[in-house]
Symmetry: C2
Subunit: 143 residues, 2 copies
Amino acid sequence: MSTLMQEMKQKLFEKGLKVTPQRLAILQALMSHKNHPTAEMIMEYIRVNHPNIATGTVYKILEVLVDNQIIRKVQTENDVMRYDAIMDKHHHLYCSDSARIEDYVDPALDDLLQTYFINKGIPDFKIEDIQIHFNGRFLNVEK
Amino acid sequence: MSTLMQEMKQKLFEKGLKVTPQRLAILQALMSHKNHPTAEMIMEYIRVNHPNIATGTVYKILEVLVDNQIIRKVQTENDVMRYDAIMDKHHHLYCSDSARIEDYVDPALDDLLQTYFINKGIPDFKIEDIQIHFNGRFLNVEK
DNA sequence: TTATTAAAAGAGAATGATTCTCTAATAAGT
DNA sequence: ACTTATTAGAGAATCATTCTCTTTTAATAA
């Protein structure tokens, strides 16, 4: 078993969640999909090894993982939810004319923003997290 | 008729869209709701003066307005779409534990980001728009 | 190792926001 | 006012997601 899977087992355990094959399969699917998969994409991937996993189970597990902050939902403008297993600080690049969404990591930018808002703040609002959405065009093909 | 309504008529006309009472009512509803309403909130507001407007019509009009860049969809983490009639550059403040979403305008921040990315750019990505999502808590009550 | 039990998975119905289809009405130009 | 393409109305259809109820299973303890 990979180290990542061990880490995932650990995360489930720490949250008091049972370590089930279905949960591990979904976590593994999420980690192997770089491009913020939908529940359906996850199911498709999983059914190769877990042909009998129920649709409702997949949604339930995703909900549990989100509630326990093991994964995140990705904000979009349409009604199909997408998920993200990367919990390290990062932003998202959204393609203007496709569903492609990629990660963008930039600690220098995060520092810049933090400095800016430590001084300035926002009236009547306590900032907990700053997430930048870049809309634009990818100049390469999807990996 | 208010100046804003005149402007809205003008926008519809410029896009080659017919100026209908239903479209004006939806635009008016959007402008009177500061807090990024859902289709349902818009319908509720509208039915006072347009009791017979069809649900499908409201969705259709919202779609047409979005496609013509007269309004925008607001990105959220759940499956109920929300809309925004303000097209001037602004960011959003998201409440961590309610559906409240407010606008945040900060030209100095926009300049800072523009300067930062003019120099730095993002590999394999052409930035068209930068939208910041602030997650946190509001320290005042909703207006 | 087996027994116990609360948590989780399976199956399929239910929900609900949104979209679609088809017909009737109407805005805008002639 | 006349004509016509566009738009609105009505209600069925769709489809992602949630819910309910039953069966199974992971985790702990004997």
